[in-house]
Amino acid sequence: MVSITIDGKNFEVDEDNNLLQECLSHAMDLPYFCWHPSMGSVGSCRQCAVIEYADDNDEKGRLVMACMTSPREGGRYSLKGARKFRAQAIESIMINHPHDCPVCEEGGECHLQDMTVMSGHAYRRYDGKKKTHNNQYLGPFINHEMNRCITCYRCVRYYKDYAGGTDFSVQASHDNTYFGRWQEGAYESEFSGNLVEVCPTGVFTDKPFAKNYVRKWDLQTSPSVCTGCGVGCNTNPGERYGTLRRIVNRFNDEVNGYFLCDKGRFGAGYVNSEQRIPVSMTRDSHEADPVQIEPDAAKQALKDAAKGAIGIASPRASMEANFALRELVGEDSFYAGISAKELGMLNSIIDIYQNRPVNIANIKDIENSDAVLILGEDITNTAARMALAVRQSVKNLGRQMGADLNFPNWHDAAIRTLAMDRKSPLYILSPHATRLDDVAKSVHISSAAQSARIGLAIAHAIDNSAPAVKGLSKEEQSLVDEIAGTLKGAKQALIISGTSSMEPALLEAAANVATALNDGDSKANLALAVPESNSLGLALMMQGNEKALEQAMSSGSKKAIVLENDLYRRAASADVDTFIDGLEQLAVLDSLKNRTGEQANLVLAAATFAESSGTFVNYEGRAQHYYSTFKAVDSIRSSVSWLSDKSLNELNAECAAALPHCAELTHLTPGEGYNFAGLKAPRQPHRYSGRTAMRANINVHEPKQEQDENGVMVYSMEGVPAIKDASVFNSPWAPGWNSNQSVFKFQEFAGGPLKQGNQGKRLLENNVKDKPWYEPEIAGDSDNGFKVFPIYHLFGSEELSAFTPAIQEKATSAYIALNPADAEKLGLHSTDGVQVEHNGAVPFILRNSIAAGTVGVAVGLSGLNFRNIPGSIALDKAEDWQSPDNWKAANIIVSDRSAESGKGSAS
């Protein structure tokens, strides 16, 4: 810390931060555009100018950009002194801006609007013509309106430098500078949506939102958690007139920082889907037509159905809903609703996190690691936010090189120049090329089982008390030695794996490597990806209860209640058919129509995350509470309220008491008695308009304020924002700061963690000192047929987001991926289809990166049920083949090209 003076006032500031950051941290309104806390400084926009004085006698000082200035001990600065320059800068920035705020999606939450006012530009003197540009089609997610651009370079720095995208650039120059793709087309980056928030004005806007637009101040919002995968990114959904309009990022320093993946941002449109179940339905027999049933009668019917029924839980339903089901049917009749193998792997993760000397890595830990090993998990598609974090981790070498030359950490351009292509090491073991290969030191193509063997061997090479592995090739052994040496030499190594390959030994191998790296003082980082938003929560609920879906289906029970779960995605279709055929009574609670629900006697219209509150446990064992954004129509109710008469708080308390590891569930919200000066936290901003008018067509009387499930927030503009509690941190706003940039007002320092701490509580921790080893038995690969491995897609593989139109545009139908040599052997031509054993016929693609004799099968896409596919299959050319309508090969973005040309290696 150093002492400085700004306009005569003394401040203690951190000399490792830049002066802009420190001014913002100390509540000064210093305008800026190009600086971003996650991307550092480049000094381009000139908006954060201040005066720096050489010494006490200096009266004139010199103009400097605060973002490019390291505060120095005794330094004297003035914001006031540069006010005129800042006004001039904004005036010239605005000469070509179209001033189309009334029709601009950014209006009302526009950083440019805020900065223009803040900098004092209110009168326009430029009387020349404005520059105009052509806009581009950028895909289903993002609109392009280049005329609004103020050339701050944030977009290109985010897309290319931060997120590693290659299909976007800055073009032309002087006042004709253009930001776009070289040819029109959909963005390839999985993180393109962050442009919407990174752009300080309306050049890049949320396309689905624009089609169904309202101003920010008319959105009812709540603190929420993404349902797209197991990372649990914090989101801020917005609603108006009963439809979900959009999702924006909600800052959480440890989980998602400032950024979401495109599935998270654009994948929640299923809330408004026509496939929603709007009312509860019932029927007497499988053959009868379902008839509508009133909510109260439906709830009674469910109660009746519960007698003697088994309950099948869900990894995408909240802790509270799952626990309510458990209460309803009793612990003995409560089943996980996922396969035994998946449950076993999740249990294995819990065991590792609890009983191995490892540090459970959050997203920030991932970013801060300086050597990374990914074992058989395609995180770009299964836990995308993790992949963005890994991209940051490889930059640590450059940061270190900069630090050695005393470059400050925020000096983004200088550090990139210095580092050139030198990166912190990233090793990837995968059955196919992945989208992270371009930053990897080396990529080794091997099956999950073989990757597990190599992982175990790495652990042994690091610590020879770990079990050894025999039978590795010479090439594999030298890879093992290289990786072991690199991880050992790292300051903070990170191992990433996950469940998607369905190979339990991978998790244990990852655990062994992390364990081997433990030298008593420091723990290695370990992150294990899980498939769904509450997978780990479900597994925690099943502790001491090994009952998986297979056991449920073979229980012989004649009655079942299925909670938010399409069983056809969990097991082979024939097995599910047999199970359902044997039932006398099937009750399903779900929000969207699916094959399981179609066969039910009783379907209860369940709320989505947007219309209900609850808790998810993410991949790191972090329990995070989400608040409903809006109240659904009366016929749609949360699963909890269908299953139970208890409040969320009561259920949480009972769950905490009943289950190990779950004590913290009672501390996730400030509790029912919460108030601030007698007021609850509002969901609506204080400028929310139309309160008395928006329902006038129904009833001129303003309705009573809707009751909240948690007793913390209200569906109203009345109340006091819960600034003291991160779990209730809603859409940020501060006077003069209407855009998302206002979040710094709630951070410990600009860019730092929230003042109130981070949302969520870790349920799993370890304090293990010894080094226990796993000794998994890994089955040999059979020689019959093609060895199958799963391929996941960010867009399409996940069940709920696949109902969203924008995601469907980016998705494709099921396919298989083959090595070109194998395709030739099978006599396949590019227009052919492939007959998959026990399955239908699907199209295929060729990928150079996958090993001969293996076949990648797309998971979750329509056209194949991956669970129907055994470990090895026979393939044949399909007869009379016609490709499905939604077969869009161009939507499959792979990185095989870079792997082929050797770009993946850091030569």
């Binding site: 290659t166 650039s169 040819q183 292509d421």
Partner: protein, 170 residues
């Protein structure tokens, strides 16, 4: 299968042997392929007259530089032509010394003679007229280049001669 990646239907042009030879020669001068990107575009332009989308894609694939990156560089520099130009590109200096000595009149004269304004190409694809910032020939102003040839101390008569010369060469 590389065609899965490109979200564009464009196909790269096959680089000629001369182009590849020249690019390979330039590669020996720099430790990183990216440095050769602009050189390669110039090489393509030397042989093709301009840099078409197909050419840009060809260079992109040959050097493994994303086309977007190359486009950013290509459109930054004045002398990379991303639109077709005539066989002879007239670079007329319009900076201060030439301006003082009448380059505007010369431009008017060329425009009248050839029927092309700045940025335009004659119908027979013989000439393209482009303004160029100071050619560093101010003591012999006004100056212009046609292709790689420099012409100085220009008058309208001299310009007529030069144009006639190029026309007769065709």
């Amino acid at each position: 299968m590389t065609d899965l990646i490109a979200s564009t239907a464009l196909k790269a042009r096959q680089l000629t042997e001369e182009e590849i030879h020249d690019i390979e020669h330039e590669k020996t001068h720099y430790p990183y392929a990216q440095a050769v990107g602009l050189e390669a575009l110039k090489i393509v332009q030397k042989y093709q007259g301009w840099v078409s989308d197909e050419s840009l894609l060809a260079v992109s694939e040959y050097l493994d530089i994303p086309p977007d990156e190359l486009e950013g560089v290509a459109t930054f520099f004045n002398m990379i032509f991303r639109q077709p130009v005539g066989k002879n590109v007239i670079l007329l200096c319009d900076s201060v010394a030439c301006w003082m000595l009448g380059c505007d009149d010369l431009q008017a004269h060329i425009t009248k003679t050839l029927g092309i304004n700045y940025g335009e190409t004659t119908d027979d694809d013989m000439f393209t007229l482009i303004p160029v910032p100071c050619l560093g020939d101010c003591d012999r102003a006004p100056s212009m280049m046609v292709g790689r040839e420099l012409y100085r101390n220009l008058t309208t008569e001299k310009i007529d001669q030069i144009i006639a010369e190029y026309k007769s060469k065709a």
